[in-house]
């Protein structure tokens, strides 16, 4: 178990022990294949979500599709 780190996720502070973006997304109860993630202002390509390590202070934007016209 890694030491918990602090993140800003969709503008809200969060603490997690997840090692990668994909782990964190699953920890939230979401499926990585149904969301898109911006990591410190850059798109995190879906193919890399399992590899990209999270660091203390990272900023994440997690989005998905909702109804719209």
């Amino acid at each position: 178990m890694t030491t918990p780190i602090s993140l800003t996720v969709n503008g809200e502070p969060r603490r997690t022990s997840a090692a990668t973006i994909a782990d964190f997304v699953r920890e939230l109860g979401l499926k990585p294949e149904k969301v898109a993630v911006e990591h410190n202002g850059e798109i995190a390509p879906r193919s890399t979500l399992e590899q990209v390590a999270l660091c203390d202070g990272d900023q994440l934007e997690i989005v998905h599709f909702v109804g719209g016209g």
């Binding site: 969709n10 149904k34 969301v35 016209g69």
Partner: protein
Amino acid sequence: MDTASRMTEMQTISTDSADDTWEVAGHRFTSRLIVGTGKYKDFAQNAAAVEASGAEIVTVAVRRVNISDPSQPVLMDYIDPKKITYLPNTAGCFTAEDAIRTMRLAREAGGWDLVKLEVLGEAKTLYPNMVETIRACEVLAKEGFKPMVYCTDDPIAAKQLEEAGAVAIMPLGAPIGSGLGIQNQVTIRLIVEGANVPVLVDAGVGTASDAAVALELGCDGVLMNTAIAEAKDPIRMARAMKLAVEAGREAYLAGRMGRRKYADPSSPLAGLI
């Protein structure tokens, strides 16, 4: 004409209608109706309306996941993106940068390269900001996106968008959500005549006859949301729109009669008693 040859002729006509497809950026579709997925009572009603409309493409928005309650139902649970093409939009974006960022995220969220670009000018009218729209279109096209672009009903702006890489021109018929119908048929027709890519009326449709007008003007399709979602019976209105789009398209292909100033009797004048 004997019965057999009449039957053959009718089959030929119906076959022609079935073959009447349209294509955008290499993707072929039969339905000329694109529907939005906003403003419905719930996802079930939304899905039923999409089904009734016969639409093969739905627009969707890109928004932050609600991380405090991620277990809420999501659109994808009700409208299967494997069966219905998701067209991610940039609704709510007021600058080219915001729109580009949203599209990049949408591509990662499972949307394909075909996207609906809209860059708004002000909240009150939701009129497009064409300078920002053209700028965003250029950047997105260079990044490999296929932008279908919401725009003013301006034939010159339409040409500029095409030069900027738009794969479809989508002029407003009237302000978004207004239901006022197509306010300027002349400019819509001028855009149709000048375009080398599909033209779809996007926004302003209020009822079935408005949708028929769009197709009668020669548009390749029509995009709507509120007209269906805010109808008293959205599923029935979705069906009405499907029929109206088909009727408008058939009328356009049939070629309407000329307009006359005065009457012209339909019954023969010869043989009057």
